[in-house]
């Protein structure tokens, strides 16, 4: 196991390991022993002998001065690496340097987290309003949300869904919080990549994303959450999404931008 390593040295000669047959013989011994187990003891014995001999030979190679030899550096030297100064384009005309981390200025990560949290807090308001206006209890939407995870919450026994079930509420809250937080984080990260105007950013985060999200939900809800699909009122659902989107985007856009540490200098 312990073999000499070669420290790089300057000079016309370099100390290298001598070629040796023992590694191959050791492998052969091991393989023959394997073949012996599978077929006949004769191979086993032969393999054992070769293995032992190779082991002794190998240890002999490890002794100082036996396994190494000086090798002259006679090979032709490599072509020198040619300098090719200055041939790199700039990202935009006039920018200093060409090494970048993108984008150059970002919202701090905390802005996204805050956006997600605030959005997550205001988002249930339309849902509760819908529940009360349509004669359900406020636990109804929460229980429905939990139906993403739990089987059997399929809207068949509506009376059950009107009541407070601590487990369902806990699951509903966890799902809601996790998704709000991650989407908030995405807002914080992605909004700065949209052209640098607040209107555009608000339109994207407040309108476009909720629209896409509602569309996706509309298409996939029957599988993702049949309970919700059976009971959902789409206009109210979309309202919730817009409320979230607008709030989260507003929180993010209002935060101060910080400059990213440059990867490349001027």
């Amino acid at each position: 196991m312990a073999e000499e390593l070669h420290r790089p040295e300057e000079g016309p000669n370099v100390e290298m390991l001598k070629p040796t047959v023992w590694p191959m013989m050791l492998g052969l011994g091991v393989a023959l022993m394997g073949a012996g187990v599978a077929t006949s003891p004769a191979f086993l014995a032969l393999g054992g002998v070769i293995f032992a001999a190779a082991l002794v030979g190998w240890v002999g190679d490890l002794l100082p001065g036996r396994g190494h030899a000086e090798e002259p550096m006679i090979a032709p030297p490599p072509e020198p690496v040619a300098a090719r100064p200055g041939a790199v384009e700039r990202l935009r005309p006039g920018t200093p340097g060409y090494r970048f981390m993108l984008p150059l200025k970002v919202h701090p990560v905390s802005a996204g987290v805050r956006g997600g949290l605030v959005g997550g807090v205001v988002m249930p308001l339309p849902a509760f309003a819908w529940a009360l206006l349509s004669g359900h209890s406020i636990w109804f939407p929460v229980n429905l949300l939990a139906g993403t995870l739990l089987p059997g919450v399929d809207g068949t026994n509506l009376a059950e869904l009107e009541q407070l079930h601590p487990t369902l509420v806990l699951i509903g809250v966890v799902i809601h919080a996790a998704m709000s937080l991650v989407i908030g984080l995405l807002y914080g990260v992605l909004l700065p990549t949209i052209p640098q105007r607040v209107v555009w950013q608000m339109a994207c985060g407040g309108v476009l994303v909720p629209l896409i999200w509602t569309g996706l939900c509309y298409g996939l809800m029957s599988v993702a959450n049949p309970a919700l699909r059976a009971n959902v009122d789409w206009p109210w659902f979309a309202t919730s999404q817009f409320v979230f989107g607008l709030t989260a985007a507003a929180v993010v856009v209002r935060s101060e931008k910080v400059a990213v540490a440059p990867a490349g200098g001027p």
Binding site: E10, V21, G27, A38
Partner: protein
């Protein structure tokens, strides 16, 4: 192939002396070349088995191959491609490249390295020796579920040849893993920090860690199997209370990380090729390294997603489903980072990039079908169907094979001093791409239509005929692609364009020495101060190291 590298042919060695030189060598480059040649030989053998199986499945109730032969072929095909083609070709390329990339004279343990190669080769020969034992090769599948492997059901020594062959070659693989870790941690060029090594080296480090953790359990399981068969032990013998279940767990504890052992080095090669051929630095190097390590560790905890149908508890099912989906995230990060590297680059559309683009467009499909399979309930339906066969070939060919071809086309000039023929490479690429899609896309459909894997024939009228016929045609289109590649390797050795030391205008250390490199790699070991030491030399006015 590389026996005729210029320095050797000068000396006019006789054939015997030439062979002797290869047998006794401890040079990581020669060992690497031997690994790759061995892997290509096994690729052709395993490929032949695959083609014969595809011909058998061309029509329902065909009798081109007898059932036992078919079962032996898919056992050998799987075993060969994983253990004697996939791992050796990756270990071989890493063997050649890692010391050059980190500016070392050789691996940390050159003799151990040689032994690793020889036991891998002998292990492969031992598995194939089963053709000459009574009962012939094993017919147990590469996963070899007990108790089908016990003496009661598999009397002949074929299973022993298989188990011992894997055991022996496993020793070599572990040796290689130990060697890479020691080399990468302890032998980098002066100044080269771990976060400055070429990205390929990172993936080899990750692969080696997985080898060290995942291969020994397989070794232990194989030992148990051999004890059962030869010493009357009862590890996997249900009659004595032993459990078929234990083998499954041990096998897949190895078997799943194995997939990443096979694909991480390909990730590494892509991460070398894409930047050089887009003329840009790798986007998000640190995140890529983090993602690699995340894959290494998460993938150690997902093995039982191969076992959703064995009747685990629902909670365990969910744990393994969740963990398996999580692996998709670091893998996704890598794909996005490669795309970001391409984006805005000036692409040089040579063969290495062509294969890298093939990798990018195909591997993502294999990854996504993996997400589908990780959904436990969906898995109840499509587990062990042709959907799975389609999925993992998409990962292993779309990922590993395209990645390896990108790498082989990229580094061939370094190894031989000559370029591979671009024309042949383009033929190879397009035949491979078309044939590969045509072979494996229909398999997904067949699987969804209820076709189980590992069946030597199928009933007419089940709606599977067309999909099988397409797949067979695809295999026949794919096959010449590999032959063209083998031919290109040999032909270009003599007739390829002279390459020079740095034909691709690349940035990592292996291009700073001659092609082929001398046995001692570098005359004087360079000092490294950035991820792109050759950029620093080519742009002395504006080197990278000022900014990294």
């Amino acid at each position: 192939m590389a026996t005729a590298v210029p320095e050797l042919s000068r000396e006019r060695l006789s054939l015997v002396a030439g062979l002797h030189e290869w047998v006794v060598t401890v040079d990581h480059k020669k060992i690497g070349v031997m690994y790759v040649l061995m892997a290509i030989a096994f690729l052709l053998i395993g490929g032949l088995e695959a083609v014969l199986m595809r011909v058998q499945l061309l029509w329902p109730r065909a009798d081109f191959l007898p059932p036992l032969t078919f079962n032996q072929f898919f056992t050998l095909h799987g075993t060969t491609m994983v253990f004697f083609m996939g791992m050796p070709i990756l270990i071989g390329m890493a063997n050649y490249l890692v010391p050059l990339m980190i500016g070392a004279r050789d691996m940390a343990f050159p003799r151990l390295n040689a032994m690793g190669f020889w036991v891998t080769l002998f292990g492969g020969l031992l598995v194939y020796a089963s053709f000459f034992v009574p009962g012939g090769p094993p017919a147990i599948g590469w996963f070899a579920y007990a108790p089908l492997t016990e003496k009661t059901f598999a009397r002949g020594p074929g299973v022993d040849c298989w188990a011992l062959g894997l055991l022996v070659s496993g020793v070599g693989t572990i040796a290689a893993g130990v060697n890479f870790v020691a080399t990468i941690v302890g032998m980098r060029a002066p100044g080269m920090k771990l976060r400055q090594v070429p990205f390929f080296v990172w993936t080899i480090l990750g692969t080696s860690i997985q080898i060290l953790v995942a291969i020994p359990p397989l070794t232990a399981a194989l030992v148990m199997l051999i004890f059962d068969r030869h010493l009357g032990a009862h590890f996997f013998d249900p009659q004595a209370g032993g459990s078929a279940y234990l083998w499954m767990h041990l096998f897949w504890f190895f078997g799943h990380p194995e997939v990443y052992i096979l694909v991480l080095p390909a990730f590494g090669m892509i991460s070398e090729v894409v930047p050089v051929f887009s003329r840009k630095v790798l986007f998000g190097y640190e995140f890529m390294a983090l993602a690699t390590m995340a894959i290494v560790f998460i993938s150690l905890g997902v093995w039982a997603h191969h076992m959703f149908t064995v009747g685990m508890s629902r909670t365990l099912d969910m744990f393994f489903a969740g963990a398996s989906m999580l692996v998709g995230i670091p893998t996704g990060i890598k794909i996005f980072n490669w795309l970001a590297t391409l984006y805005g680059g000036k692409l040089v559309l040579k063969s290495p990039l062509l294969f890298a683009l093939g990798f990018l467009s195909m591997f993502v499909i294999g990854g996504l079908t993996g997400i589908i399979l990780a959904c436990a309930a969906v898995n109840f339906q499509i587990h062990d169907t042709y959907f799975v066969v389609g999925h993992f070939h998409w990962v292993l060919i779309g990922g590993t094979v395209f990645g390896v071809f990108a790498g082989l086309h990229y580094w061939y000039p370094k190894v031989t001093g000559r370029m591979l023929s671009e024309r042949l490479a383009k033929w190879q690429f397009w035949l491979l791409l078309v044939g590969f899609i045509l072979t494996f896309a229909p398999m997904h459909v067949a699987g969804v239509l209820g076709m189980p894997r590992r069946i030597y024939t199928y009933e007419p009228g089940r709606g599977w005929d067309l999909w099988n016929q397409l797949a067979t045609v695809g295999a026949l289109i794919q096959a010449p692609s590999y032959l063209i590649f083998a031919f290109n390797l040999v032909w270009s050795l003599r007739h390829g364009e002279l390459a020079g030391d740095d034909p691709w205008d690349a940035w990592t250390l292996e291009w700073a020495t001659t092609s082929p490199p001398p046995s001692y790699n570098f005359e004087s070991v360079p000092v490294v101060r950035s991820r792109r030491p050759l950029w620093d030399l080519k742009h002395p006015d504006d080197p990278d190291w000022k900014y990294e």
